[in-house]
Amino acid sequence: MPALASPIEDTRTDEEVRTIPARPWTTVVWNDPVNLMSYVTWVFRSYFGMARDKAERLMMQVHTQGRATVSHGSLEQMEADTQAMHGFGLWATVEPAGDAGGGGGGAGGTRRGEPR
């Protein structure tokens, strides 16, 4: 296979580079001793539109592993998801994707569209 003559030129403008997320982000929900398993499942189903099986699996992950990644996408969308979780009374944080730190890391959860 012939080698490429030259690296592919990056033709993006500065504006485009700025609007492309440097890296994906995630929303992580953390365990607490107060929130009901049924309520956490309901939040995941109603807010993220998860199927029942997926919502229950992620809820159990929060319960047994202390945390679960519930969505991934742009920083702006993850901040919106985190704010919504706080409105429901769940503790969520915005984390860079691929951050180590226990079960549930990585690109789990619901893929979110780009912010409007």
Binding site: N35, L36, Y39, W42, R45, E79, Q83, F88, T93
Partner: protein, 232 residues
Amino acid sequence: MGSWEFVPTSSGWVAYLDAAERAAVLDVVEDVTELLAAEEPGGPWPQVQLSEDPVTAPADPALRRLLPDASRGAPEVAAEFRRLTEGELRTTKTGQLAVLRSALVAGTPEVRVARTDAPAVAAALTDLRLVLAERLGIRTEADADAAYRLVVEGGPLDVTDPDGVARRFLATVSTLLGVLQESLVGLMLDGLADAAGDDPAGDDAAGGDAAGGDAAGGDAADGRSAGRASSA
């Protein structure tokens, strides 16, 4: 004593609390509403414009649990998130508490919640329970179990121990709130199953507009005591 659990009726979801129970819950609603108005930069009213100044995390741990940090490892991310969203989050939570308060003061002895109000009521019940848990020093599931045991098997009250009396009272209100929430959320989950059409067992539920109430569909909530409801 009321039965505490929400049940479906032809005119919404209804729980029964006696006057003392309703007054106790209303007291907590008032306390948490005041808490959300406290420590607010620029005064006790919702901010009408975004502050340019940094917003520090609340000093009261209960308020901090309602308005938590949005990052564990990046304080500057948490601070910026707080600056942009905390005022709105306080307003959201205060509004949810107002929906619960309306349900509590509207009827005696019924506490009637329309389906459309149920999410706000469930979120408000969560916030009340989070604050009570913080006041009771509940940090772990074992702490939560201990508080529940205090309610169901605490034995006679020692009225010469005001701290013990207060603790028992808070734990009892917390248990009541847990039963209200678990039963309400069970109905809300049944409603989701109905909407998604993934609950073939649900069509034998009682008639009326509250169909899907207590029939076989409640698998996400059943098998658990609502009193010491399982937490996630």
